[in-house]
Structures are given as structure tokens and as C-alpha cells.
Amino acid sequence: NAGVTQTPKFRILKIGQSMTLQCTQDMNHNYMYWYRQDPGMGLKLIYYSVGAGITDKGEVPNGYNVSRSTTEDFPLRLELAAPSQTSVYFCASRLAGGFYEQYFGPGTRLTVT
């Protein structure tokens, strides 16, 4: 099993550009999450999904969009990149039920200049 995979690993964007961060999991997990991690700030939830076709906002959704057309994939879209979106982005997934153990991908380091 590959677990949770994310692409790209690194990306530099210019202000105003758009991009999609890809996330795929092969564990048949229902729930998927997008977080951003800034130095000294822990992980902040951007969006989450409890199943295909269902998404909801987290703590910091502004400037981002998501879709969940399949169980496996949960892409994160940045429409008009801003320097404030410079961060490390993590995708995670978990099974429904249980005690919310989440499995994380390796992250995407994004710089907006």
C-alpha cells in the first residue's frame, strides 16, 4: 500500500497564479482532510470530506477550493495565489468510526512570491 500520496513535493508560484495540489489514498478511507502548517502554528484545517461528493469548510478555507468526485482523490485548488498561502500543505485520511486516527501524506511545500 502506498497510503496517502501528494504531488507535487515542492512548488513556487507567482502571485495571482493558480494551481491544484493532488492527494490520493489507496486505503479506501471515507474521510479526507487538507491542512496547512506554518512555523510554530501547528496544523490548521482547510477543508475536509466525509465521502465522495461531500465537502465542508474547516478553520481556514478562504482562498481554497476542493472537490471529492471519488473515494480516492481529494484535490485542493488555489485560484489566486497570495503570499499568505506560502506554507506546507498536508493531506490526511481516515476510516469512518473509530477514534479519528489520521494518516498523513508527505506534504507539499508551496512558496508564493
Binding site: 496517502v4 474521510y31 482532510y33 491542512y35 510554530g40 502554528m41 501547528g42 496544523l43 490548521k44 484545517l45 475536509y48 466525509v50 474547516g58 478553520e59 498536508f90 490526511a92 477514534f99 479519528y100 486516527e101 489520521q102 494518516y103 498523513f104 501524506g105 508527505p106 506534504g107
Partner: protein, 109 residues
């Protein structure tokens, strides 16, 4: 969003010493998790504690959940350089986790 505070923010110790990291909140959680994150990687789950007063041991790591399920601690005995990393606590609410800012632990050889 429920706030989790971790202390200390940074901890640097010599190999063989003991250390304790704390995670505190004013809110009650149904469960609390501890993750460890190494540079350039995603967090990896260490343990989940569910019952107030629960103590779990993983080799040299001991995790405790407060009686009121608002706080937790992680104690490492005889720390090794391999224990170096960012330790994150996370409280469960609904379908989501709220993370603390983390404690960066450095164990010097």
C-alpha cells in the same frame, strides 16, 4: 475550534535524560492523540487515549490522559537521538482534529 496549548515550545536535552511534554485545553475531548513529525514528513500517529485517567505505554514513551479529558502529557524515559522531532497533540471533535502548535524536541548525542 477548541484551543490546545502545548508546552514547552522547545526542549533540548542530552541523550539518556527524561522529558515531559504537556498538552492542555479548557475543552473536553472524546479522545486525544499524539503524533510525531520529522522534518520534511507528515505527522505519524503515536497513540490515542480515550478514557479519563488512562495511561498508555509504548516502550520508553508514557502517555497520560487527564481525568477530566482536557489535558494530556507525554513522558519519554532515557531519551535517544531518534526521539528528536516535533510532537503534536490533537483533540477529537466531531469528524475533525484540533492540533496544538507542537513541541520541538532535540535529543543531543
Amino acid at each position: 475550534t477548541q484551543l490546545l496549548e502545548q508546552s514547552p515550545q522547545f526542549l533540548s536535552i542530552q541523550e539518556g535524560e527524561n522529558l515531559t511534554v504537556y498538552c492542555n485545553s479548557s475543552s473536553v475531548f472524546s479522545s486525544l492523540q499524539w503524533y510525531r513529525q520529522e522534518p520534511g514528513e507528515g505527522p505519524v500517529l503515536l497513540v490515542t487515549v480515550v478514557t479519563g485517567g488512562e495511561v498508555k505505554k509504548l516502550k520508553r514513551l508514557t502517555f497520560q490522559f487527564g481525568d477530566a479529558r482536557k489535558d494530556s502529557s507525554l513522558h519519554i524515559t532515557a531519551a535517544q537521538p531518534g526521539d528528536t522531532g516535533l510532537y503534536l497533540c490533537a483533540g477529537a471533535e466531531d469528524y475533525k482534529l484540533s492540533f496544538g502548535a507542537g513541541t520541538t524536541v532535540t535529543v543531543r548525542a
